[in-house]
């Protein structure tokens, strides 16, 4: 009787595993977000990165998995979210690098985009980002203080205008920011790194699309 139970249980479990495989395949082989991130790295023949930062995106949460990841290798920075599987940014060899998180941090009530500085100089206590967003004839400077998140600094760039004429330009510029790729990064920015006494340790400056390489 026992051997019959074992035989039947094994048969059922085998069939259940097969059914699970069929379901998994029809759903496009989903995995938990971190495993998905690793899978994207393998599928792109990219080096396995060390995950330095993870956070949640409100927009992604509405679609499914809210997690966003940022991983680094010696030469690249990988960012990922459910809808932006893998963005690969070249990493500055001798200094900090600024990247944009692939999905917005917050949709409501204040549209907020996340930028992350990786490789801040040793002894950095605070960091400040100044970025010029522009759209058609509109342009505006934004200055944001970074929040230290482990080994990186997170800059939460929030919309500042209410329901006025500028709102759509600002919103579009911020949305566009999340789709930025390093080779077509539109907006000029400066990231300053300060020690505990407020002395400047390093400045990362970029003059905008078409101006050439990012200079540390």
């Amino acid at each position: 009787m026992t051997s019959r139970h074992i035989r039947r249980a094994l048969r059922n479990l085998g069939l259940a595993a097969l059914a699970a495989l069929v379901i998994w395949s029809m759903k496009g082989y989903p995995l938990p977000m971190e495993m998905d991130f690793r899978r994207y790295e393998r599928q792109s023949l990219a080096e396995r990165s060390e995950i330095l930062f993870r956070c949640e995106s409100q927009g992604e949460a509405m679609l499914g998995d809210p997690d966003m990841f940022l991983g680094v290798t010696d030469t690249a920075i990988h960012t990922s979210s459910d809808t932006h599987p893998l963005n690969i940014w070249p990493r500055n060899a001798d200094g900090p690098t600024l990247v944009v998180l692939p999905s917005e941090l917050e949709l409501q009530p204040v549209f907020t985009v996340g930028l992350v500085a990786v490789g801040a100089p040793e002894g950095t206590a605070t960091a400040r980002l100044t970025i010029t967003l522009s759209r058609l004839d509109w342009a505006e400077d934004y200055t944001v203080d970074g929040q230290r998140q482990g080994a990186v600094f997170l800059f939460s760039l929030a919309a500042r205008h209410g329901e006025d004429d500028w709102r759509s330009h600002e919103r579009e510029a911020l949305s566009e920011l999340t789709h930025q790729q390093p080779r077509t990064f539109l907006y000029p920015y400066t990231v300053e790194f300060f020690d505990a006494d407020g002395e400047t340790l390093d400045v990362l400056a970029y003059d905008g699309y078409g101006s050439g390489e990012v200079a540390a």
């Binding site: 009787m1 039947r8 249980a9 479990l13 059914a19 069929v22 379901i23 599928q43 390093p182």
Partner: protein
């Protein structure tokens, strides 16, 4: 003791109910056999049943033995596996209905994989321009390279001369080398990325020192690199094709071309002189 009472007493320590019922049926059968034998010897049905149950022994002692032999765990696992299978089958059917509906609504586009072109192909455009594609050479490239768990082969490689005559200021004569890479893996849940920048993110170089790169801001420019392009094609769940086009400076074939793959440092060498692909 009546047979029913005896059987209930003897099987009460079997914790898996279906086993208890099955063993009970078996014991009941034995009792009936013995009872029939006694009845054949002339005993009344009542006496025959009493004698039969007495012959079967002490039901309490038998219950202890049966309880020890019939552990319930495999039975419970079997029951659990039945539930799991049932739930998954229902889930699979529901998912399948959605999947089939989706497929009917958005049918997958038919993919035509690259093939060796005709010896001569001519295309005439609306403005009167005529392009002629002349197949100059083709190669059977053997071997394979394993990179990142994917196997790369070169199913197709050929050189075409492309001429243009017409009103536009296009280059009148070009030589285009096409190399098709096929990347396959048995890991159907993890096919290699079919993005064209898997190829175009880095430069290719050939044995003559020519450099090929995608002309794009942040990548390469036409001052430093010859034109380089890539189309991709899905080939079922296990493979992806990369059709790579290199603008050779003249009809002279290089011995080999180093082609970068992916966003890391991987590359492979297509050796036309030896007809083989290698790392």
């Amino acid at each position: 003791m009546f047979a029913k009472v005896w059987v209930e007493e003897a099987t009460r320590k079997i914790r898996f109910k279906p086993d208890r019922a099955a063993v009970g049926r078996e014991l009941d059968g034995h009792i009936r056999d013995i009872r029939d034998k006694y009845e054949a010897q002339g005993l009344s049905p009542y006496d025959a049943e009493m004698r039969a149950t007495a012959d079967m022994g002490d039901p309490a002692a038998i219950a202890e033995d049966l309880g020890r032999i019939h552990k319930p765990y495999w039975g419970w696992l079997w029951r659990l596996s039945q539930w799991a299978l049932g739930i998954l089958l229902v889930w699979a059917v529901l998912t399948g209905i959605g999947y089939v509906r989706n497929r009917l609504e958005y049918p997958a586009a038919e993919v035509e994989l690259p093939q060796l072109p005709e010896e001569v192909e001519t295309r005439t455009y609306a403005d009167g321009g005529v392009r002629t594609f002349r197949l100059m050479d083709s190669w059977d490239i053997g071997g394979s390279v394993d990179l990142g768990g994917y196997r790369f082969t070169v199913p197709l490689a050929y050189l075409q001369e492309r001429t243009y005559e017409g009103p536009e200021d296009y280059t009148p004569l070009q030589y285009e080398l096409t190399v098709c890479l096929r990347a396959s893996s048995w890991r159907f849940w993890e096919p290699i990325s079919a993005g064209q920048y898997m190829i175009l993110s880095h430069e290719a170089v050939d044995s003559d020192g020519n450099r090929y790169g995608r002309w794009e801001p942040g990548l390469f420019s036409q001052e430093t690199h010859r034109h380089y392009f890539c189309n991709t094609y899905g080939d079922g769940p296990f493979a992806v094709w990369y059709e790579i086009q290199l603008d050779l400076p003249d009809g002279e074939m290089p011995d080999w071309v180093d082609i970068p793959i992916g966003y890391g440092e991987e590359r492979l060498r297509v050796n036309f002189a030896e007809g083989v692909v290698g790392p």
